[in-house]
Symmetry: C2
Subunit: 345 residues, 2 copies
Amino acid sequence: MTIKDVAAKAGVSVATVSRVMNASGTVNPETEKLVQSVIDELEYSPNGIASSLKTDRTHIIGYVVTDIRNTVFTFLMAAIQNVLWEYNYSMMLFSTNGDPDKEASILRFISMQKIDGAILNSCTNTQSIIQLNKKIPVVLTGNDISDPNFIGDFVDSDNHAASYMLTSNLLSNGHRKIGIINGPNNLVVSRERFRGYQDAMAVLGMTINIDNPLVYEGSFDVSSGYLAAKKMLSSASMRPTALLVTNNEMMKGVLKYCSEQQIKIPDDLSVVTIGNRHELDYLYISPTYMETNLEEMGERLARLILERIETKKRLPKRIFKLPAFFHDGNTVKPLTPIEANTIIS
Amino acid sequence: MTIKDVAAKAGVSVATVSRVMNASGTVNPETEKLVQSVIDELEYSPNGIASSLKTDRTHIIGYVVTDIRNTVFTFLMAAIQNVLWEYNYSMMLFSTNGDPDKEASILRFISMQKIDGAILNSCTNTQSIIQLNKKIPVVLTGNDISDPNFIGDFVDSDNHAASYMLTSNLLSNGHRKIGIINGPNNLVVSRERFRGYQDAMAVLGMTINIDNPLVYEGSFDVSSGYLAAKKMLSSASMRPTALLVTNNEMMKGVLKYCSEQQIKIPDDLSVVTIGNRHELDYLYISPTYMETNLEEMGERLARLILERIETKKRLPKRIFKLPAFFHDGNTVKPLTPIEANTIIS
DNA sequence: TTGTACGCGTTATCAT
DNA sequence: ATGATAACGCGTACAA
């Protein structure tokens, strides 16, 4: 069932059928009606592949993440999908599993599949990204690359502000021994969240470097949150009075450990986190957290990539930091002056 | 950078280059080496679109779900992806958001995109599925369709057995007033889970129909679990002593409600569920549950669709019910004979 | 307004 | 072993 069949049956040329299908060029209303009826009758649908070969457009964008099971990615993905669907684009999904080699081959694969554009979430292979970006528009989130050869956009929430604010909140509640359970340091998102924490601590004169025992580098997944908690909380006397856990997933792991070890929140430990409202509002506890608006981020990412695809211009790089919002919960215990003093000493 | 450029630079014909790229036909080792070097030098990568047009193969499979944010789908997706990647296939992802119209247009879209095959998760539009299946191989999960015109496979865990076993467990612990929070009745997965519960209750002479107040039809997501709990548990005197919650997501909603209302598990309420180990083992509580092995299911789905694609035969329909495994937790309180009697009366 | 014909980048058939 | 060439199904410049 091709365009030829339709043309033959309608007694017109393939050009006319094509014009009717794409509403392009001029076509007599009567012939249009005729052609349309044949199209309906034969249930003709054009071959997208052939059309792509001709127009050099697939109407597909690629979304690359490190692990599909991470809810941050899935919520982002859902938001992206909504926009894409609206504009008649569809999504091809790839997961690197955190493997740099796999990431490289995925990016290579994307460039030969003639996908129209790509959204890369937490990709780290700078050279591969630049290589891909030479052929198609690319926007980034989670990790940015500073190489001037990269001409694309970067979108993320204001991670520095988010952890700065949460850390300040803990400090103003009297906490001083504040730990951070963070993501991989090779991602901008992690480094920003660490810096926010670091800067807030510095205000009270505390200098915390990356090798401080209060700092844990996890991998943004549930099990690393669990392991981090195990490491940092096992000794009741040494442990921090508060923890900044920098994403949803690791937060679940921390809560699991606390529950197993009968560590009461907030009585024995205060906890704050950064994440997604839809996840955090359904925990058994109401955490104090900074909300990253994943709907907005996903929508922004999708609109940016579509803009770059449609206006074929190589627009200069743009960077967006979306605001995060404070949610007050009941996971922070204000320390009395005595407690605070004890701990400071 | 096309195959022509490579041919020209290597001083051979496009046919030879094609043979080298695809390791097809015969080619002199020396010319092969030469051609390969030119390919490397020019960093030539073939145009997948053109190749698809010729071979009628895209090496893409479509995965359709109702809501990407549901972890059941994401875990399944991850498993499917692993297999696809191994066989050099990639995945296009679609989300119906539970909208029948959107489902129909997605399935239509898939058939014109010349995707090689489709995995449909909880799709309900029988006619659209059959229509799609006329053109490409299709395998189903979550919801099956009984129409003989559908020639594909169905894979799911043994849902009847899972809820039968959990209900029996509650019964043998003395519970009688057992509620079920279930998914949409238009899905086979929900109906099977309900039947398992129903059959187990029937063993003790209790006939429970779908309109019984002990039965709640939710939508397999967190908020419907929350709402269900709210409805079923609000009156302390009337409420069931135990609940069978038929998936992960709704379980989170139930736990949230219980936590808010200070309903202690298992003291005030026993709870059992069906779901994914990776999720359930990281709750703050250790639930008694039946594990559905999503890795195995996903892998099976992927292999089945690939099999149907590669052996172009229209194999007869096959149905797979994968076993679920019992995990004993601490969310079921054994009722003393007195308590049990009180409740029965 | 409509039709003819070429080309998109491959693969595959058939000669050589 | 290799090369010339015809498809694959569509869009579109150009001609009519």
